[in-house]
Symmetry: C2
Subunit: 327 residues, 2 copies
Amino acid sequence: MARIAGVSQSAVSRVFKPGASASAAMRRRVMDAATRVGYRPNAIARGLITRRSNMVGVVISKLVNLNYPEVLVEITQRLSGRGIRVLLFALETEGDTAAALDQVVQYRVDGVITAAMLTGEQLGMLDEAQIPVVFYNRAPDVPAVNAVRCDHAAGERWLVGELVDSGHRRFSIISGPEDSPVSTERTLGAVEELKRLGVSDVTVARGDYGYGSGREGFSTIVGELGAPPDAVIAANDTMAIGCIDEARAMFGLEVPGDMSVVGFDGVGPSAYAAYQLTTVSQPVAQMSEAAVSMLTERIENPELPKEQRVFSGIPIRGNSARLANNP
Amino acid sequence: MARIAGVSQSAVSRVFKPGASASAAMRRRVMDAATRVGYRPNAIARGLITRRSNMVGVVISKLVNLNYPEVLVEITQRLSGRGIRVLLFALETEGDTAAALDQVVQYRVDGVITAAMLTGEQLGMLDEAQIPVVFYNRAPDVPAVNAVRCDHAAGERWLVGELVDSGHRRFSIISGPEDSPVSTERTLGAVEELKRLGVSDVTVARGDYGYGSGREGFSTIVGELGAPPDAVIAANDTMAIGCIDEARAMFGLEVPGDMSVVGFDGVGPSAYAAYQLTTVSQPVAQMSEAAVSMLTERIENPELPKEQRVFSGIPIRGNSARLANNP
DNA sequence: TTGAAAGCGATACCAC
DNA sequence: GTGGTATCGCTTTCAA
């Protein structure tokens, strides 16, 4: 390319580097040749010398359920707004991080946003490689990490509080998959708040975040209890919807007339007229922006201290729970 | 790294290259040093010399609606199964391809899968750069491209045929956004089949693939018609669901009792008990696999001819349309 | 402002 | 089987 424009490599480099010194004549000359041969600087070669790939790794599991698709788009768009590309890793299960992490360091990404749990060893590896990491809705118990998360426990406390206040006494919970820290936090948050409020009548069924498991979960619960509970707390909206459908279709129950059902996330379908879920919505836009800015700041300045940003969920009163009218 | 292990660069390279000749002693020696200093080969540097980045660009628009999240996961997982990483570009609108394409060539991806339309010029650029492209549910009118798509028109013909057969006469359509070729193909497919079957009574409202626009679309239609039609054909499931909710909640109509509503895609919520959409499901797994294998084959062998693979949608009789029982 | 030359971290080819 | 060397395409001093 330098040859074909009849100038030096350095000159070409400068022309393509914003704010570098090059005469107008040189600019024209190089750009002319560039458009003529369809030249575009090689980002790979640039990355090799500058030690900046301008890529960040995004690790996400179970894209299909939950609100991850939304999160992924938000994060991707905000990163590209800052001139950063996304190297995507979609994990089959939350435990599959090893291979992804390997690639992440081999590709010398400038940073990582992960919505999957990492082991201490993996964190150490990234740390050694000087790759900053931001956890999304995950807070490992290693001392200091960067993390953005929604306060799931507080959200559950709100839900439980409202339900108990409104006279519900017999509770059931449909939890998420065992390997989901988010599910654990939500379920535990609900259980503890129930205990604190003196409610001990709680059955738990395990789900997998999917619609079908919400339906099955409810059937299981009724099987165990011999009758529907007053309220079902599902670990996410999708299972809450499944639960409602099962209650209506298979047991002829009215929701919220005969039973209350609450979810978590605030995904699109939660607002469908057929459900109008009582739920807690995650502030996805703010959380994504927080994750992206936390990461990019630490890419620019690795000295920045570790930080956790916790966002409150947004209570949605909805219409799937019989709540006393005292907002 | 070569120095610290006390061997040549070439030796290190061989040890990390599967199936290269290196003695067991050499292997141990290098691997020892590698684990000691946490060495991992630099994929960027490798890409520079081998002219293979082992990345493919995936360009997708409007991730939030439609079935794109599912498609993205499928494609990503299948690619990583082949040792290929995904560089993701999430477009705000289908027209934003320019910037993404620029990056795609700058990063020297080995290939591109795009679920957004490209201009002839952009295609030419990729072609010059020798980057194979596979279109996903998009078939540009330039002569020869690689494409995987669902036969939307045929799907609509099935839907329309069933509806007309079952006695529906007054039809309405809720189309998708103007810049969506998929919406165009579906809408046109429905309109033409209706015409062919002698139905001329068709109102059309424009939607944006979103739930809200399905609701509004139905209101608009009733406003224009003064009464509900016999059947509404929505350009996707999400709008069909919105339409059903609006009909039920705001007009007290029963679906399918008073009116039939059909969608397209077969997304998760279409199977929810409250809707049980009559729809056409896209065979996402097969289509994703086809896209990935078409692309990887052409990366290995650029001489392969252009190809189009068209998959039939899977008819779902569901329960949102009053269909005669003659399957 | 411009050019020459070194070097980023790997692979490939060629001797040995 | 192993090491030396050129090379990929760029950025970055350093002189001119």
